[in-house]
Amino acid sequence: MNLKIKIGKAEFKNPVFTASGTFGYGEEYADVFDISKLGAVITKGLTLKEREGNEGLRIHEVPCGLINRIGLQNVGVDDFIKEKTHFLKEQNAAVIANVAGFSENEFYSIIRKLEGQDIIKGYEINVSCPNVKKGGIEFSNDKTLFKNLLKTLRKETKKILIVKLSPSAGNIINFAGIAQDEGCNAVTVANTFKSAVIDTRKQKIKIRGGLSGPAVFPAVLNLVLEIKKAVKIPVIASGGIYNPDTAIQFLLAGATAVQIGTANFIDPMISISIIDGIKKYMQEQKINDINSIIGKVKI
């Protein structure tokens, strides 16, 4: 039974990855299970300098989901290289670095620093950051900024380049097309949905942040179906998986790989249960190669 998948030149032992921001740099989860069993660990978003993250309320539960405004708290790329890569090598984990820059230069500098790290198989570019040199507009919201960024980064790296699309940007399908045109190896569909909650007693905003969790699954599944109709490059689905069935739905819809994120807060071992669940499905359905079901269901 083959679970291996390929994205660009990179091969992964199975299609189950953990989503950036929900898994840290892997250390805490190594206390729970052998992280080398995952297809890949996608690191917490790495910024050029260490970031403290947001003040105030950072997470808020909603029915079947979560709104977060963590604010990219991370150790910064230099400390990541110095302090976190050794552990990941020891664990034999497959690693994709999520990269978050606030200008084109920052993205470029972070990738330059990581390019020599063999443990990193590729980069997932977080374009939902505001470009501070262009008045704070998010890269994911402006086609020109988005295109220019990917053009620059593509020249910088021999590793695989994945861009994490924003579902709150207008016309995500167009952005997926631009990513393909600029030579990206895959797109992650998708980042969190912009959301808000009001405290009715105080008559004030309680939180504004990104919505994730089972609540968003059907919406993200639909995006995967639509984007697979428009682009040929692999889609990595991220949004609301909470059991093997939802992961398999994404694969059938055309995702080459899936990311488990908020579900880690239901059960820290859920990604392993999902790998086991996919194997069980393949046995029941007499499927020898996972690649044979990817994209079997089209709109």
Binding site: E27, G53, E61, P214, P268
Partner: protein, 262 residues
């Protein structure tokens, strides 16, 4: 022990007061919880409520774990309706424990009502080798009576304050900080757990003024509970640097002098 989500059968879900319950359930861990550590609890097969809820380990033995909780909203209300043999799931044991190897000449433990849940195991561990006294605040006399009866097996000196006693009361009238202000004795260290307002007032009116070394067991909304999501952070100022620290990982116990209140 690897931190895994364990399914556990409820043994008892007992009412202590109108809105406070003691839940006892099967202990699935081979290792022992240390004072200060907590569990993340969720309903089995539920996606709503979604996040696990943190509760201090109130007590334990080889076969059972227990938590003390107050009904403050929908999830705790649902918890209070669970019965013997119902299943829950828990993740444990989480957080950095209190430093048990230290001894104190005189130790004060200060609880704001349900805050005793976070201090009970600490008291059990520390009372043998330390001169320990509990100060605990309640809203009503009925609450005070019920808790003091419930805490009797600890066999420690308990000083209770009641916010709103009816008429003449056997308890001190007012909040726990007011009681401590009148206290002429001194302690060499203070441990506290309770509502944020109580901890803030305790810090500014007692700890800072009397320069008492103190530690607070803090509460936070949590997602992962194991230190990877950065959702449960509080601001801590240490050696001149202000950073966000995780209540679930560097905490829940913090040096009271280091906490930066928002």
């Amino acid at each position: 022990m690897k931190k895994i989500l364990s399914t556990s059968r409820i043994i008892e879900n007992r009412k202590i007061t109108d809105d406070t319950f003691l839940m006892k359930f099967e202990n699935r861990n081979p290792d022992k919880p240390l004072p200060g550590q907590f569990l993340n609890i969720k309903f089995k097969d539920h996606l709503d409520p979604f996040l696990r809820r943190p509760f201090a380990v109130f007590d334990f033995d080889r076969k059972t774990l227990s938590i003390l909780y107050k009904v403050v909203g929908r999830t705790t209300s649902m918890l209070s309706q669970l019965q013997k043999n119902d299943l829950i799931e828990y993740l444990g044991f989480l957080g950095e424990p209190f430093d048990r190897d230290r001894t104190f000449n005189k130790l004060w433990v200060v609880a704001g009502g349900i805050g005793i849940g976070g201090l009970h195991l600490f008291i059990k561990n520390m009372k043998q080798n330390n001169d320990l006294e509990l100060f605990i605040g309640f809203n009503t006399e009925e609450e005070a009576d019920a808790f003091i009866r419930f805490l009797k097996p600890l066999h420690i000196r308990i000083n209770a304050a009641v916010m709103d006693p009816k008429g003449k009361s056997k308890y001190f009238k007012g909040n726990i900080v007011k009681l401590l202000k009148k206290e002429t004795k001194r302690c060499d260290t203070l441990f506290a757990c309770g509502p944020e307002l109580m901890l803030k007032s305790l810090y500014s009116d007692i700890i800072q003024k009397k320069r008492i070394p103190a530690y607070f067991s803090m509460d936070a909304i949590m997602a992962c509970g194991i230190g990877s999501c950065m959702g449960c952070t509080i601001k801590i100022k240490e050696k001149g640097l202000t950073r966000f620290k995780r209540v679930c990982k560097e905490g829940p116990v913090f040096n009271a002098d280091h906490i930066v209140w928002e």
